[in-house]
Symmetry: C2
Subunit: 635 residues, 2 copies
């Protein structure tokens, strides 16, 4: 039996059919009995009735004396009644009502006589100042209905009602089977070709947060028999199974074959991106989901297909989706064939909610971590244009975009340190920084999409940074330039400089593999300038078109030996222990539009820039000069 | 050293001083190191940096061949290039890039020759179709900053970045010490005078939900030395301690003395109700909170005083409080001396959000379970009038009041069964039922405060139920009457009828202790009618002024032996195994205003009324006739 991508079913249809099949096969909420003390946060499977009353005995509600009310009848200010010892009992609040008594008189309202008797000056009404049996809860009464969440107070009420155990909805047990010859358990020193198994950790935490109980099985090699065996074992122990395929071609064929053998395959292939190789299978009432190996694909498949199943089985109504209208910063192109899920970062800039699409690679787990929302592009639609208003499903709390400082432009690790300190000092503030190069930052500011932009643009005519670009792109002002740091730029080469390069002028030498930054970045503009100054034909530099987006990633390629040289800042070279041939000190400054300048977030950023702790962090990274940091440069 | 309620400090002031003192003593977030796999949902204590790149090796991003790009230079459609075996390697997606290669050509773009060589028709650009080292995460880069919550994706990113352990904010360990001679562990058969210890279970679940780690100690008797010893032990093992005093007088004096001995007492007595005997103490940086014994007092004290401390120590910003404007159904009177916290139920009726105050007794834990919100009455204010608009702090999700069917009026246990079935069948729907008697229900409907009211009002002139009352109170219509059940009403007496009562006419006999329902209830009106019919002077009935709010609680008093007789319905008598002298079958119907009649919630209620399962539940309870149930009665 050979499987391919047999189907390309629309998600809605596939999900509906799948859940319908499972429910027809008997899938649904299951109950289990747990001690009340461990039931907080769980959901009742059936109504809970009190077995005893609370309070379960009549008690004094005051400090005073208990008596038979009749014995006090007729007592007034002018005709007091005196009770002999034996006709009353001294009681404290909470004491059980003594036999034969049906009223309590407060201690303040009695006169104690020396012979042990008491005198009262007004009659007691039967049952006054008595806490009646069942005042709180009556035996036999329903304490809480079915499918209700057990709050702390409900736990208390059940114990008070004499309930020791409670039937709650069982947490569905979900087996996760990681597969793949190349997959190894998490460690700090994997060999080339080995892939750390982190999907189970991601999936487990997602499942837990939805009220399921994940069970992660050991990694299974890409062998059909072993996968089938693992699947059958998981099916015998769990209510649902996730079979996480390796990421290379042919892997999910093996999964599909094993699922078909152990149970049945309903669909193989869903019209979503990422996530299209998903396999929707089951054995009787137990879902078996074949999940693609790339983490982002897996997250989408589990969110879209397993979450509604878990919601069905936990009895929890799906939480209302929070959505927001946002303006897209960049075009997003989508194939017509798939419904596409694009992760975006969000931030309020001025009065607009801005959505910036993140890296769409399905292996890029960090982009999921940074995402504030998901933009869905329906199947059959080509995508959205920059500036278009789109509806975004929110992944973070609704208030977060309003408290997010949006920094778009040139990359420097100092931005991460800045974000860390700002958030630590004011937990409500977040920073979202996108690395699109200095020119990208200027363009974002012009479109009103950022609160700040890192910028280091050299004007080759004057040798002065940034000013001439600001004059050209912001002829009508509206922008301020804040001095940030002087950065040591230079040529990064492998440790020990094995090719013996003397400087940038040697990068076109035969046998030198260069790695570049992307067009529009200040460092690329600097490299172009250095080429023209040294009269080097860019086409003669091997790898000049090989583009990385950050200083750090240029440094890595050199450290890993896949390139010999690239321009970057000293701190990146130092991080990877590379040799560094200094070229110049450039001015890395921050552009801030007038409308953002007086906001609390920007104020906090400027204060942090000037703080001694920040300066100490920069010193530790190396290669920065701090003169005038945080000061406004007059334009 | 003798303590009394030494202080009556405003809450805001007390809280501010207390937290300030604790912070000055060194209290604050603490860090602990945990394995990344167990860190989901925790908060980082410091920024986390990647120790390896992800991917950590250059890999093929396609199925195809890896080669040195240079070897393909010059290849075009008209000038193809053929590579001998050895000059290329076949690779699958994800395979590490072989040494000496710097490009991948897709399998679709090559021609395989019979001699093992391949022919290509266009040149490869260096680094094409290669997933670069660090594409996702670069070693040394900040993965996540400090005081950020670890989402599932963040867990994945940390594992991918080679991070095995992470410093997170420690969950503060909170010791809970229950005290009191009368307190016993939860059980189903306590003796009179024994109080079940359910406070720890309530407090523990609250603390857990705020991110703390509760530790419950064994119950300590009311002995100063033992309390002091338990306190000192808890202080040596925990970051914070709750000392839960018994509820009777003098108990918190003992607590205060022990806290002063083990550490110090800042304030004893806060101007809040419930909760005024709270003790704010500490030992160095460890808070010691003396919590009153009544559960509701304890909940308020812990919410108002411990929660902000835990928020400080967990680094979690306090969640924004959800509030709503609501119209009060009943006046709420408050003493000027205290800031008062009143629990309310909420429901949208028509276009008004209605807030009904719940039982304010501080021992009534079930009222906390039923509460949707808390109304605060500031110190120095006398309270609010019925109909006044007030601001309520929400305890349940914001959408819940819109989905709550508000039923106010006569009590019958069938309402709980109805609520249970409705919510089970549609999880979004809730019912809030208040037992204020038939007349109370009519008044609530007239004020527009309910969707439905249970009603069984006998017109003594005609012997007909409900109709004449509807004509009198709703002369302009706007209301419908839905037939519900016939209910067997009768005199409930102790098992075996030891006093040998023949019927209601005997309740004024000497030695008979009666227990009544509250004025305005249909059963009270029936009892009044029976008195006048039998020519009984109500004042001659012992206990006629003793009022209970439900059939069930009347039955309990008889079952417990504190009363001999009371009017009520058969199902209540049966629940407590009482003897029952039938008096009449009354019509218990539902009044529904026109505006509510066509809403989905009321439709669902009517459908449920007519369902066989509901009829089966009523049969099991006994004493009901079901003819015409759910039909509209023409007015």
């Amino acid at each position: 039996m050979a499987f391919e991508y047999l189907t390309n079913l629309p998600l809605d249809r596939a999900r509906r059919d799948y859940i319908e099949l499972l429910i027809n096969n008997g899938m649904g909420p299951r109950a289990e009995t747990v001690p009340v003390s461990q039931a907080a946060g769980r959901m009742t499977a059936e109504a809970v009735y009190a077995s005893i009353c609370s309070p379960h005995y009549a008690a004094s509600a005051m400090d005073g004396i208990a008596l038979l009310a009749k014995d006090s009848f007729g007592a007034t200010e002018s005709t007091p009644v005196t009770l002999r010892p034996g006709k009353f009992t001294v009681v404290d609040t909470g004491d059980p009502l003594p036999d034969g008594c049906d009223a309590v008189i407060m201690i303040e309202d009695i006169v104690e006589n020396s012979d042990g008797s008491v005198t009262i000056h007004s009659a007691a009404a039967p049952w006054q100042h008595i806490r009646q049996i069942g005042e709180d809860i009556c035996a036999g009464e329903m304490i809480i209905g079915s499918f209700m969440e057990l709050t702390p107070a409900a736990i208390g009420a059940m114990i008070a009602g004499g309930v020791g155990e409670v039937k709650v909805i069982k947490r569905p047990r979900v087996g996760i089977i990681p597969t793949g010859d190349e997959i190894i358990p998490p460690c700090a020193n994997p060999e080339p070709g080995q892939i750390l198994e982190f999907n189970s950790a991601i999936f487990s935490s997602m499942l837990k947060s939805w009220g399921a109980e994940p069970v992660t099985y050991p990694i299974v090699p890409d062998k059909y028999d072993m996968i089938l065996h693992a699947l059958e074992m998981a099916l015998s122990q769990c209510d649902m199974v996730l079979l996480n395929a390796g990421s290379s071609a042919g892997r999910d064929d093996c999964s599909a074959k094993a699922i078909a053998e152990a149970g049945q395959v309903l669909y193989h292939g869903i019209a979503i991106k990422p996530g299209k190789p998903a396999i929707l299978g089951c054995k009787d009432d137990k879902p078996i989901l074949g999940v693609p190996g790339y983490p982002v694909s897996g997250i989408i498949v589990i969110e879209e297909l397993l979450k509604p199943i878990i919601e069905h089985c936990t009895g929890k109504a799906a939480a209302r989706e929070d959505r927001a209208e946002a303006v897209l910063t960049r075009p997003v192109v989508s194939g017509l064939k798939y419904q596409e899920f694009v992760r975006v970062r969000l931030g309020f800039v001025g009065d607009k909610l801005i959505a910036s699409p993140l890296n769409r690679g399905s292996g890029v787990v960090s982009s999921f971590m940074k995402a504030d929302g998901i933009l869905e592009i329906p199947q059959g639609q080509e995508g959205y244009e920059a500036g278009q208003r789109v509806s975004v499903r929110l992944l973070t709390e609704k208030s977060r975009p309003s408290n997010t400082l949006v920094v778009i432009g040139s990359h420097d690790p100092l931005l991460d340190e800045l974000a860390d300190m700002m958030h630590r000092d004011d937990r409500k503030i977040y920073m979202s920084s996108s690395h699109v190069g200095s020119m990208g930052g200027i363009m974002a500011l012009k479109r009103g999409e950022a609160h700040a932009a890192g910028c280091h643009l050299l004007d080759p005519e004057t040798g002065i940074y940034n000013l001439s670009f600001i004059k050209r792109y912001f002829p009508n002002g509206g922008i301020r330039l804040i001095r940030c740091v002087g950065r040591q730029q230079g040529l990064m080469v492998q440790k020990g400089n094995p090719l013996g390069l003397n400087g940038f002028e040697d990068v076109a030498n035969d046998g030198v593999r260069y790695v570049n930054r992307q067009k529009g970045s200040g460092t690329r503009i600097l490299a172009d300038y250095l080429c023209s100054k040294a009269n080097i034909d860019k086409a003669s530099i091997y790898g000049y078109d090989r583009e990385e987006l950050t200083h750090t990633s240029v440094a890595i390629q050199i450290a890993a030996g896949s390139a010999d040289a690239g321009m970057g800042i000293y701190s990146a070279a130092r991080l990877y222990d590379l040799d560094f041939l200094p070229v110049c000190i450039e001015e890395y400054d921050l552009l801030i539009p007038d409308f953002a300048y007086d906001t609390p977030m920007v104020r906090r950023m400027l204060d942090t820039l000037k703080s001694p702790e920040f300066h100490a962090r920069l010193s530790a990274m190396g290669g920065y000069t701090l003169e005038g940091i945080g000061e406004e440069i007059s334009l």
